[in-house]
């Protein structure tokens, strides 16, 4: 009984944490480049709806995932145009992106509301997947879950061990300095936003193709904002984000498990957990986190005459 609870809880945590981690990794890259994107929620929704509809039309969930990612990347370019080229306020632009994502995804997804699909299949590894408990917790997921932790490692390596990552971090700390060093802050920021949008799109696609296996309006339910809080929690470091994302995945999984167990706590109160946890984490880490944040986060690079 405990075993099944634990197994259900931990595997639920990982399952729910994976899309959060993709979204968080995307946001880490954006913020390292100096841009806060509150519209991540909208990007995820676009990824979810495009991923879902592509899968329904083609019958291929992997293709759907890729389409969702690409759509997310392109959608984020709208945000990029506003904040990089037009130098608009990042917070307001992000919220506009969110509105747009909500409405556009509702429009695109209207024909698919409630449809159920097989989505991303579980990948079973012979022998490992059949282990009791451990098999459930570690080896019964779809491909995106398996890839997420390696993805975090790759992004960490990219940020700290390559020239591109160094230039990107420089832009996020001090774009004037980066420019003086001969880098093009605009180009780097657009690149970061595209990658972040793609990761956000994949996160959304994972929600619709693997977790829910259906489409509903605003199905991300604020996960995009939770991801923004997670970035602060992980102090803008991709590998630390892993812990945070699975912790929050746990909060989401907890309420599902408790409902399944018939625990007499209102589902609404349980649903609050992830948000309250995000808030708590923000408050606890926020002050200290401010010093760890990229120096030029949120500000606008003015260029030269």
């Amino acid at each position: 009984m405990i075993g099944s609870f634990l197994g259900g809880f931990l595997s639920g945590a990982i399952q729910s944490g994976a899309p959060l981690l993709y979204a968080t990794l995307g946001e880490v890259i954006e913020e390292r480049a100096g841009i806060v994107n509150l519209g991540l929620e909208g990007v995820m929704l676009i990824g979810a709806v495009v991923g879902f509809s592509t899968t329904v039309q083609t019958g291929n969930a992997v293709l759907g995932t890729l389409a969702g990612g690409l759509a997310g990347g392109l959608f984020n370019m709208v945000f990029g145009f506003l904040v990089i080229t037009r130098r608009a306020n990042q917070l307001a632009s992000g919220l506009a992106l969110m509105f747009c994502g909500v409405g556009l995804s509702a429009l695109l997804g209207a024909p698919y509301i409630g449809s159920r699909i097989e989505g991303l299949k579980e990948i079973r590894i012979p022998f490992l997947s059949d282990l009791p408990l451990v098999g459930t917790i570690l080896f019964q997921y779809d491909i995106l879950v398996y890839l997420v932790v390696p993805m975090a490692m790759v992004i960490g390596w990219l940020l700290f061990n390559t020239r591109w990552g160094l230039s990107l971090r420089a832009v996020g700390e001090n774009p004037t300095a980066a420019f003086a060093a001969g880098k093009n802050p605009y180009k780097l920021q657009y690149q970061a936003l595209f990658i972040a949008g793609t990761l956000g799109g994949i996160a959304g696609a994972h929600l619709s193709l693997a977790l829910a296996k259906t489409w509903a309006e605003w199905m991300t339910a604020g996960r995009g904002f939770v991801a923004v809080a997670l970035v602060i929690f992980s102090k803008w470091h991709p590998v630390r984000a892993i812990a945070g994302a699975f912790l929050f995945g746990g909060a989401i999984a907890l309420q599902l498990q408790m409902q399944a167990l018939g625990v007499p706590v209102s589902p609404f109160l349980l649903d609050m957990l992830p948000y309250l946890l995000s808030l708590g984490v923000l408050a606890a880490w926020g002050g200290a986190g401010r010093r760890a944040s990229p120096g030029s986060l949120g500000r606008v690079f003015q260029g030269t005459e």
Partner: protein, 328 residues
């Protein structure tokens, strides 16, 4: 006035792009826009309904505009509205024996208090430097809506409405009176008063000057002895309170009870209005008018044109996009 002309031009652009979106999805934009125009401005009832919608929109816009004078970004209008409605409902359900002239002011104050306290959480977090108010108000939106759902599905559920999750109906004493036969209610007076007071405080008083100073140069404001932390907390509280009034008036005058889906995103629309208007009171009035028409349009698009209601979010986003892209 070149500024206004440019603004109208931008709006036209946004409407044009939205028309294209409609065409892509096989709808007739001309018919859609005409339908919206006729049913909102073409008759008295439609017009009065616009006024009804404007009440919460003006209030939530001020809830954003006031803190924005010192660059606080309050996106929690939705949540503050809900908690205001919650507190007001508590008053309405528990004091059914009081006469209207006591009960109405009571739930008015409760509504303000609810919204104010909810925003105060974010205000304190920001004043202490622990969390950005943008993210905390955003997250608290979800918590507020879940909290209302909890009460409405649970302890406050009306036993007489077996299948619907909602509270009991408010007594007459707790219902805000309306004007004539329309649904335009006393809340309009709150909204216009709030707008006037907002203008007055900002332009004439000491506090308005100090707020503008903070907005202009926070470091200098500190060095001049202006208590920034105090203003952060105060403005978030008052802003949240005003949004709470929107919730209170919706629940007392329009719905007559507390039920889920109380607000079709008034909080976020209020944010849009404040941003479009640049915090200017007349601009808020005009933008609230426009957005009331647009949100009514959402209902029409859903009912007569087979589009999901949330599609107007695209139009709202387009308007915000053009405003941001132009002003930067």
């Amino acid at each position: 006035m070149p500024g206004v002309a440019r603004f109208v031009g931008l709006l036209a652009l946004a409407f044009f792009v939205f028309a294209i979106v409609l065409v892509i999805f096989g709808k007739n934009p001309t018919k859609a826009y005409t339908d919206i125009f006729l049913s909102t401005l073409g008759n008295t009832y439609g017009f009065s309904e616009i006024l009804v919608k404007m009440i919460p929109l003006i209030l939530t816009a001020i809830a954003v505009a006031l803190p924005s004078r010192i660059w606080l970004i309050n996106v929690g209008g939705e949540g503050q509205l809900h908690i205001g409605a919650l507190f007001a409902t508590w008053g309405a359900l528990n004091f059914t024996n009081l006469p209207a002239w006591i009960l109405l002011p009571l739930i008015f104050m409760l509504g303000f208090l609810g919204g104010g306290l909810w925003a105060l959480i974010s205000g304190i977090l920001r004043a202490k430097g622990w969390a950005s108010e943008t993210i905390s108000t955003l997250l608290l939106n979800y918590v507020a809506i879940l909290l209302v759902n909890f009460f409405v599905f649970g302890p406050w559920k009306d036993p007489e409405s077996a299948n619907y999750p909602q509270t009991a109906e408010f007594v007459n004493a707790a219902t805000l009176p309306a004007f004539g036969n329309s649904r335009v209610h006393l809340g309009l007076v709150f909204a216009i008063t709030a707008l006037i007071v907002y203008y007055f405080v900002l332009s004439r008083t000491r506090w308005g000057l100090e707020m503008r100073a903070i907005g202009n140069n926070p470091e200098a404001a500190q060095r001049n002895g202006i208590p920034i932390a105090g203003y952060i907390i105060l403005l978030m509280f008052i802003g949240g309170g005003i949004a709470g009034l929107a919730g209170m008036s919706e629940v007392s005058a329009i719905q007559g009870r507390l039920r889920p889906g109380l607000s079709p995103g008034y909080g976020f629309t209020g944010f849009l209005i404040s941003w479009m208007a640049g915090g200017n009171p007349l601009g808020i009035l005009a933008s609230a008018f426009l957005l009331a028409i647009i949100t009514s349009g959402g209902d029409i698009l859903q009912m007569s044109h087979g589009l999901p209601g949330s599609v107007v979010n695209i139009l709202m986003a387009l308007i915000l996009f053009v405003v941001l892209a132009r002003r930067g």
